[in-house]
């Protein structure tokens, strides 16, 4: 039994319409998966916001360290050749 009598925390991800990405909606407290899913439903879909829900125990989420931002994200900044606009296409070429 945990010391915290408010039950464990879960992160809630919601899909707003079929085919869309799952987006973080917030958190809920619950003791088990079934409860987490229901609590997420009762908390975050009261206005028809969702068509599908994921719940994940908060402790299962690993976040990147902001101190590593330089190392993690800056090196991508100069790789413009990954963008389609980088390439010079011959005039008149179609559907490319």
């Amino acid at each position: 039994m945990t010391k915290d009598s408010q039950l464990g925390t879960w992160e809630v991800f919601m899909q707003s319409k079929p085919g869309a990405n799952y987006i973080h909606a917030g958190s809920v407290h619950a003791s088990d998966k079934g409860m987490a899913l229901q609590n997420a439903r009762d908390t975050y879909t009261r206005r028809g916001e969702g068509t599908s829900i994921w719940v994940v125990p908060s402790e299962a989420i690993t976040a990147s360290n902001p101190d590593d931002n330089d190392m993690l994200f800056d090196p991508a900044n100069d790789k413009v050749y990954r963008m389609p606009t980088f390439y010079v296409m011959p005039e008149g070429a179609k559907a490319i």
């Binding site: 915290d4 088990d32 908390t43």
Partner: protein, 321 residues
């Protein structure tokens, strides 16, 4: 000694980094380094905000069973449910700062954490439900709209969601008042009486005048608070006066008048003695609200324990199968 100096240097460096981010208008996220004061200020403000939402369920909850029509009952229940949801969002946002909901609740019970003073006033008649929605939620929303741009990411995101959901709250209150003001004499009297009792406490919700407010300095510098108490109060008064006029309610302030020079209404003196009296525990409902919360918390303990015990059993079974 050297180590201490080094440590101090690192701290200054971190603080500069943090202040740069604030300066640029970047939001601060849970894993970002932040000064202790910032974290403490946020925990205090966010938990107070969360507690206010949850304690605020009580005065209105007091009228659910007596709502005068099925439509009114539905709306009121949905609104109070929203308040609970908003408390939940705010507790979650505060939890990202390393404090648990359980700790926040025990701070509320011990008196270390506060909730908004306004909920220490009683909801006496059905018109009070109108006045609470229109004035109290109206005042709260002015503050909350401003907080959508607060510097702490999880807080700001919670506020965005809350503002979106709360947009109907003020309307439902105003609709109740409007209906009553176009109803029988008894209804009109009830509505004006509620207006008289809730007007001044609503103005007090914005807190002391800027000249008297002890926490404003850092909170503004850190962009937790984006507008001052007096600015927000003026915004609320300006929009509410017109709404009262439209439905024929009188604002109980004989000194209230438009000031062309400032572009705002001037209002009469707020009775801060009453404000501090209520804050320090002498409001008509302080004791009742806290006892209710403590009772519910204690009565629910066996349920939460059972849920945890059930999960533990299930996990054990899974392990042995």
């Amino acid at each position: 000694m050297e180590l201490l100096e080094k440590n101090e240097q690192v701290q200054t460096e971190l603080l500069r980094h943090f202040e740069n981010k604030i300066e640029k208008g970047d939001s601060i996220e849970p894993r970002d380094k932040m000064p202790d004061g910032y974290r403490k200020h946020l925990i205090r403000q966010m938990s107070q905000h969360a507690h206010s939402e949850v304690i605020g369920m009580q005065p209105e909850g007091n009228w659910i069973t007596r709502a005068p029509s099925l439509r009114a009952k539905q709306i009121l229940l949905a609104k109070i449910q929203d308040e609970g949801g908003h408390g939940l969002y705010l507790y979650s946002a505060a939890e990202t700062l390393g404090i648990s909901r359980d700790e926040m609740i025990s701070q509320l019970h011990s008196g270390k954490a506060k909730y908004s003073n306004i909920f220490n006033y009683p909801a006496l008649t059905w018109a009070d439900i109108g006045a609470i929605g229109w004035l109290v939620d109206g005042a709260a929303i002015v503050n909350q709209v401003s907080l959508q741009r607060t510097s702490y990411g999880p807080y700001s995101r919670a506020m965005v969601r809350i503002c979106k959901e709360e947009s109907f709250h003020q309307r439902q209150g105003y609709e109740i008042m409007a209906k009553m003001m176009s109803g029988t004499d008894a209804q009109k009297e009830m509505a004006q009486d509620a207006m008289n009792r809730w007007w001044w406490p609503s103005l007090m919700m914005f807190g002391p005048h800027d000249s008297e407010s002890p926490h404003t300095g850092d909170a503004v510098k850190w962009k937790i608070k984006r507008h001052s108490n007096d600015e927000l109060r003026a915004k609320f008064i300006d929009k509410t006066v017109q709404q009262a006029e439209v439905i024929g309610l009188t604002i109980p302030d004989k000194d209230l008048k438009w000031n062309d020079a400032t572009g705002h209404y001037d209002h009469g003196a707020i009775d801060w003695n009453e404000f501090y009296k209520v804050i320090s525990g002498s409001g008509p409902c302080n004791h009742q609200r806290m006892e209710h919360h403590k009772r519910v918390h204690a009565e629910g303990a066996w349920v939460r324990e059972a849920a945890e015990a059930y999960r533990a059993k299930q996990e054990k079974q899974l392990l042995h199968s």
